[in-house]
Amino acid sequence: MEKKLEVKDLRISFKTSNGKVQAVRGIDFDLYKGETLAIVGESGSGKSVTSRAIMGILAGNAIVESGKILYGDKDLLKISEEDFHHLRGDKIAMVFQDPLSSLNPIMRVGAQLIEAMLLKNKAARKESARNMKRMFESLETLMDKAGCEGSKADLEKFKHFELKHCELHSQYTNAYASAQEAAALSAHLALAVSKNAVKNLSQDIAQLIRACKESVSHFVVRDKSEKLNNLIEVLKTNTGAYQKKDQQGIDSLVKALKDIAAIENEALGFTAPNNFTLGYYLSYVKDEIPNLPVKELNELTHRTVETDFMNAFMAKLQKAVDYSCRQTNEARTRTSALLKEKAKSLTRDMDEKIVRAMFKDLKEQVLTCLDPLEVDKDSLTHTFGSSVDYALDLYYNGEKRNRAEQRRFAREDAKHSRIIARGKVPEWEVIPASYIDLDLAFGEITGTMTEMAAHFDAQVGGNRNANFAARTERIVDYLKDSAQQSVFKLSKGSAREKAIKLMESVGIDEPRRRYRQYPFEFSGGMRQRIVIAIALTADPDVLICDEPTTALDVTIQAQILELINNLKKERNLSVIFITHDLGVVANMADRIAVMYAGKIVEYGTADEVFYSPAHPYTWALLSSVPDLDTKEKLESIPGTPPNMIYPPKGDAFAPRNKYALEIDFEEQPPMFKITDTHYAATWLLHPDAPKMEMPAVVTERINRMKQKGGAR
């Protein structure tokens, strides 16, 4: 299965006035495509912190001490905030715990739904324009250097008809979207009017007329525009009849609406034109569209472009690609060697100024290794500078801070013992010194360098037998896409249609009416649906649900869980589901990670964790919730989770664990493998450990569940 998200050795702490709280202490897990991973644990076990780290919305006092969160080839902890904008909400979306506080009370629900779409569209426009400009500039210089003639003229020509293409394309898509809207709206109105269930007909009719008029274009509603205009007139004259309850008028109104729906639906079935080739044709061959069926027209324009311009242009482009690849390969080999050498020579006692100066040069070197014609951003190279800076700051500031911390601790400790020596009991306690792990920080610096070098080596190796023709095509596609995105303006109307479709898909009745309501007009379950719909507007592949049903009661909880499960199936979403309700986990999860005190203590498929739990903490969790057949006394977990300013030395759960062994208080247990998918961190699984039985409550329940399962 494809891995969507990989979390490796993640450590997160929070700086507070009482000391450093170690919220997450080295966790690893993977999330596969189309599966649900549930994270279970008591409050304060670091579940939410982990999910917030994935979303990049950690609180300001958080320190990421080490670790990686890999999404694709991107490390979410290292990429810049600007790059994160492309992921957060777009690719990774989150549903928060309380729907009332995550919606804006003074904005209509619809406005909140389309807000993100419109903003994203605006940002994409600006950025694509910038990308296109950059690409054209580097293409021009590279083509010159590679020895092609007339590159400037060719590029100008390409740019020119590309813009024509965009214009045609946006005309076509707008008309098509309007036709879609008109078809849906007229069908809806025809039904509603005949059933006498429309509140504000004139407003709806006005919207329909606008959509109809916009749908008239060369490739959408063509020959029947005359007829459509006549029908619009019928609508205008008969709108009043609905209020007066004039049956004849209503009948003609319904008939006109049905006719409009038929025309628009027919128009939606037409073949789409090839706007790119047509753009060239209109710019350089003839300035009007020849009167041919769309299919033949497409063939004609395609032939013209290929022979006239495209083949020669592509050959030139390929030369440029080849040239730039050779150039960057050289730079990469050079830099890789340099990086390896510097990483070896770097020692911990070097002067900060010298090291910083060295890295300044190194960062510039690394940036020269960027292929100017890259289509997919090489995020590791781009973020080399920032991740090195982060590691350097952590190391050198850490050194200073550790010294200061040492001084403070010595001072306070001395004062404390002075008071005790005087025979008094001090009212305050000495806050223990919290040191930053310098070994880890230094390892981070060299690690970043060697990783970068290995990455360059791999790239050079990959370039040796690369397919340059395919690369050239990708560049052309990229240029087309960015040109289109830079002129594509999402209108409010089409955003609304999209939002209404989403509202329907999350199970909200009458989305057209609900669209204009405020959050307080929705019930708890409906509100949570809106939050989920907002999370889905950008079509993410990872959905993080942070206790989405804890604030809701059983019936609504069941509805929301069903909804998330259905969406998961439909869109092949990967879901991270955070909760402390084990019943909900059993319903949702494919795999389960049980967290305690910032660590994953057990990790396995749902069946494994529920039917053969291995960690005492999982036993305790299972035995502390009653199910419908529980009669015996519940086994509560004594005590409270440990204070994470002073994390315990051994197994964090040992003080509350009646199955604890002596070693649990001294050494942290490693992850023991039980099956290929099932791991648990407890010394009980060590071959030398005494045999322990899980609590009777749990065994009995598992037996009961097995019997039930067998009966079915």
Partner: protein, 351 residues
Amino acid sequence: MNDDVLLSVQHLSMYFGKGPYAKKAVDDVSFDIHKGEVFGLVGESGCGKTTTGRTIIRLYNATGGNVYFKGQRIVAGDLEYRKEIKDLQEKLKGASAEEAEKYKSRIAELRTEIKKARHDQKHADKKLVTKIQMIYQDPVASLDPRMTVREIIAEGLKIQGIKDKAYIDEQVYKMLDTVGLVREHAQRYPHEFSGGQRQRIGVARSVIMNPEVIIADEPISALDVSIRAQVINLLNDLRNSMGLTILFIAHDLSVVKYFSDRIGVMYFGKMVEMASSDELFLNPLHPYTRSLLSAIPQPDPEYEKGRTRISYNPLVDHDYSTDKPSFREIKKGHFVHCNQAEFDRYLKILK
């Protein structure tokens, strides 16, 4: 059975607002709680569970119905009387002299009843009412952050007029011990405790009044999983050692099933079904109860894969256009809100 009824709720109604726009939070709810039992009240949020509890403990002035505690009326509403007076006054308009006389005397009778009810509501026996205590949902919000635990727990005793400091201290320490806290905790403030400990303080505060009935209003829904078991076990121990009677309000059905002897299911201010907890889960009759039971998730992946939710829509599931429903006993101790046709159908299902 009738002898050991400790708390009897009869036709209790609580409306917020007046006239046709009144919000009927509780509408004609009746049930008895026997001595020493735990009565669970379940339903979705906003169905009037909490309002029922609060009306019983006289935090609201009931609109209609009565609550008898140990045979004494402690809550009295006048809705029925007012309704009857209104009807009679309508009839008076077209009545003959003889009938009018009859109606008038009845109205006068009803007016005195109303006066009595108002008197009872206002002057209920304070000593008796303190025998009913409440535990609130959110331990963070229900404990005064500026009072020490000692002050919080002793407040009830002080209000009762006890001034002997040594006695109060002794009682407070005893209570702390009962709920599993230690003496030193008396000096501390609520914020210094964990969630489970805070809820224990809430329990200690209500138990110090030596109550006979405790109304526990979702005492565990604001708590963490591991702590829930602590609080349930504590309430169970107290019930066994002190012979407490508990009205347990919650929406987590697994817990209610585990903890209660009898369960009442509420839906939009009405009690739709009431039975012993085993009976209710074995033979749920009302469609709402079925839908509620089918929505409970269980910590069992196999079972969860096979579970299908039944949805409930009162417009589809009932036809009350001709025959109005009422609360009927269908089997000994099993009551359902239904009309005659449904009653017959349920009887068939039971057989």
